[in-house]
């Protein structure tokens, strides 16, 4: 089997997975929008949510870094690949830490949990589902970066990295939608 066929296979498979994930997210987003403003008790999104603009910019930037890494690996520069992907990893980790801080504030300061009201249920489910996907991506980035640092990544692996980058772009794109729905429209 030629490499090009293998590369195509990985991309098509990943696009299929992305389509399935997009359908799952769509259902959660529809639920969020449908239940917006239908909570019987507070707190409401207006009271407690603050748009995490810096984290959002960081996550968007990570799409650029992940892509730069793949390009460097294609070009045979494994060290530059490792640098770009560690940067991506850091941006992803910072995003997760930001989510953790926000959730801690919501739970312990504002008294909003998943059980409090419909807003809590839909907010933690949707943002949590996205954070879960970021976590999976961060775990993959961590493994790849470790392998790169150990010198086990070769330019021949560029297509694996490319397939992963599709996933990471998707996670970013979903965040744009979640951000708009939760922090702009839903507030």
């Amino acid at each position: 089997m030629t490499r090009s066929c293998g590369e195509l296979k990985g991309r098509v498979g990943m696009l299929g997975l992305i389509a399935a994930e997009a359908a799952i997210f769509t259902i959660f987003i529809v639920a969020y929008l449908f239940y917006a403003g239908k909570s019987l008790a507070g707190p409401t999104p207006e009271d407690v949510l603050h748009a995490p603009i810096v984290l959002t910019l960081g996550l968007l930037a990570s799409s650029v870094t992940v892509h730069a890494g793949v390009r460097k690996l294609r070009g045979g520069d494994v060290r530059a690949f490792a640098r770009w992907w560690i940067a991506t990893l850091a941006l992803g980790a910072v995003f997760l830490a930001g989510t953790a801080v926000e959730w801690h504030r919501l739970i312990y300061v504002d008294g909003l949990t998943l059980q409090t009201n419909l807003f809590g249920t839909t907010y933690f489910s949707l943002v949590g589902l996205h954070a879960f996907h970021v976590t999976v991506g961060v775990a993959a980035l961590l493994s790849a970066s470790l392998l790169a640092v150990l010198g086990l990544v070769k330019p021949v692996h560029a297509y694996h990295a490319d397939v992963f980058s599709l996933y990471w772009h998707f996670v970013d794109a979903v965040w744009v939608v979640v951000f708009l729905v939760v922090y702009v429209i839903g507030r």
Binding site: A20, F28, A31, Y35, T121, S125
Partner: protein
């Protein structure tokens, strides 16, 4: 990749049983996984069939006490869930797995290990569902099966109305098998896109491959929402969420929407592979190429598109707005157009052909007739005003069993007989197959033709018994009698499979004088499928080989 071959001559010393079992359990070969899907589905078919039989015995006469009301609720829940998720879908995935790589000239699926992973997810999902029988209240307590119906409407599934863990087993089993289905769907699509042999352009793919492509796309678009809804139900039940909790402002109707966004496309997920079998079998047994290939592909894609936008016709009785009702009435009726095109194309394929009415074709002809009737009652039910009268009655039960049994199951039986020689290398017994056909056809019509009548007379579905004197008695008696014919037919089918696989005469590579690539390899096919990847120049590559003087590629 498995190195064992189904076709290799048996070594002088038989392989120990444990080694053979190990080879099957660890296999990533698409043919073995396909057979495992099918074998697994047949086991669950027996379970689901026994559940149906118990329900029909309970309903044979008014105020009969064969099972308790509680058990009856569990029976219809388990019957529906089993038949859809652990019989019909694995059957379709099994056939797709086995046939598709052979038909497009590939050596395996695109992701063999994902394939095995998906199978085992489905398999363990089914076990999880049935484990509820002993585990639902904790192993020490009395277990029970889920009893919320196969579409598990809220708020029945809330902790208040469904204590214990039976609903959790239901949810988790569908979630796990759903991930397996999505994995298989991704695999099917990738295989079709990336693994076709030289010359196998999209316009030359067998219709079975086209229909499975649309089927897999529907699985991705439909099963994912179901998985999302199951996740929400788990959040509600385990973390105290309020998605479907009407006391906290949640909506039971939202669950209905989410379920049927899955539930209706699911019908097309199951019926498209059935169409696929019929589209392969009718041409071979009419000795003519399929009529209107391009239109068939277009109609399939059309069914896929429209099928995604008709779900709320399951909810006319809920009370939607007039606009919503109107939209879903017309969307639903529109689907009769591409489906009708298909039926006419199959008829046109048969028209003027040299029809050979052996078992596969016999089942296909019955399929055509029965699927048409199922479609006609479907058009009746798609009219919202009539649905308000007939919704949730036995008329609906009769309608969808006409689709699933009369349409899909008959096509599956046709596929079993058609590809049996390829899979086992042996011929099935034609006489026993005809016995199976007639017993099953008589049983099917006794059960499901007459089931429409008590529905029209007002008998609701899912009732465990009924009062005498409502005019339902004799119809229910006939319906139950039909079940025993179906059981007898199924026994003939299983007997045929077993006897023929063990003692049938050698079939050879191409017993039907067929035209697609799977018939070019030995029966059963070697593990690597093709020693040399074939090159095709038309839709009927084997015809071209057999008729070098008059090949198809001159005309396509």
């Amino acid at each position: 990749m498995s190195t064992e071959s189904l076709a290799l001559p048996r070594p002088a010393v038989a392989t120990p049983f444990v080694d053979r079992l190990h080879a099957w359990v660890t296999t990533v070969d698409h043919k073995r996984l396909g057979l495992m899907y099918i074998g697994y589905a047949l086991c669950f078919l027996v379970l689901g069939g026994l559940e149906a039989t118990a329900m029909r015995i309970q309903l044979i006469a008014p105020r009969y006490t064969f099972v308790s009301p509680q058990v009856f609720n569990r029976l219809f829940t388990m019957h529906g869930t089993t038949m859809i998720f652990f019989v019909a879908m694995p059957l379709m995935f099994g056939f797709a797995n086995y046939l598709m790589p052979l038909m497009i000239g590939a050596r395996d699926m695109a992701f063999p290990r994902l394939n095995a992973f998906s199978f085992w997810l489905t398999a363990f999902g089914g076990l999880l569902l049935y484990f509820s029988l002993i585990g639902a209240n904790g192993l020490a307590g009395v277990g029970n099966a889920p009893d919320v119906g196969w579409f598990a409407y809220a708020p029945l599934t809330s902790r208040t109305f469904s204590p214990g863990h039976s609903t959790d087993y239901w949810t988790l089993s569908l979630l796990v098998s759903g991930f397996g289905s999505i994995g298989t769907a991704i695999n099917i699509i990738t295989t079709i896109v990336c693994m076709r042999c030289p010359g196998m352009t999209p316009g030359r793919m067998p219709l079975l491959v086209w229909l499975n492509l649309v089927m897999a796309s529907l699985v991705i678009l439909a099963v994912s929402p179901l998985s999302a809804a199951q996740l929400m139900l788990l959040v509600d039940r385990y973390l105290g969420g309020h998605f479907f909790d009407t006391q906290a402002g949640g909506s039971a109707v939202v669950w209905m929407h989410f379920f049927w966004i899955f539930g209706h496309p699911e019908v097309y997920v199951l019926v498209l592979p059935a169409f696929a079998f019929v589209s392969e079998i009718i041409p071979v047994f009419s000795r003519k190429p399929i009529f209107g290939y391009a239109v068939m592909v277009g109609a399939t894609v059309g069914i896929g598109f429209i099928g995604m936008s008709v779900w709320a016709h399951h909810m006319f009785t809920v009370g939607m707005s007039a606009n919503a009702n109107t939209f879903f009435v017309f969307a639903t009726m529109a689907i009769a157009v591409p489906t009708g095109i298909k039926i006419f194309n199959w008829l046109a394929t048969m028209w003027g052909g040299k029809i050979d009415l052996r078992a596969p074709m016999l089942f296909c002809v019955a399929f055509l007739f029965q699927f048409l009737v199922a479609g006609l009652t479907g058009v009746m039910l798609s009219a919202a005003p009539l649905d308000w009268q007939l919704g949730n009655s036995y008329f609906v039960v009769a309608h969808f069993h006409y689709v699933i049994v009369g349409g899909i199951l008959f096509a599956v039986f046709a596929a079993f007989y058609y590809w049996f020689p390829k899979v086992t290398g042996r011929r099935y017994r034609e006489g026993l197959a005809r016995l199976h056909f007639w017993l099953f056809a008589i049983g099917f019509h006794l059960t499901f033709d007459f089931m429409h009548v008590p529905g029209l007379l007002g008998m609701p579905r899912r009732i465990y018994t009924y009062e005498p004197g409502r005019g339902w008695d004799v119809w229910n008696l006939i319906v139950t009698i039909g079940v025993f014919f179906q059981i007898a037919g199924t026994l003939a089918f299983v007997l045929n499979l077993v006897l023929s696989a063990l003692f049938g005469e050698e079939a050879g590579a191409d017993p039907w004088d067929a035209w697609t690539l799977e018939w070019t390899v030995s029966s059963p096919p070697p593990a690597y499928n093709f020693a040399e990847l074939p090159t095709v120049r038309s839709r009927r590559p084997l015809w071209d080989v057999k008729h070098p003087d008059d090949p198809d590629w001159k005309y396509e």
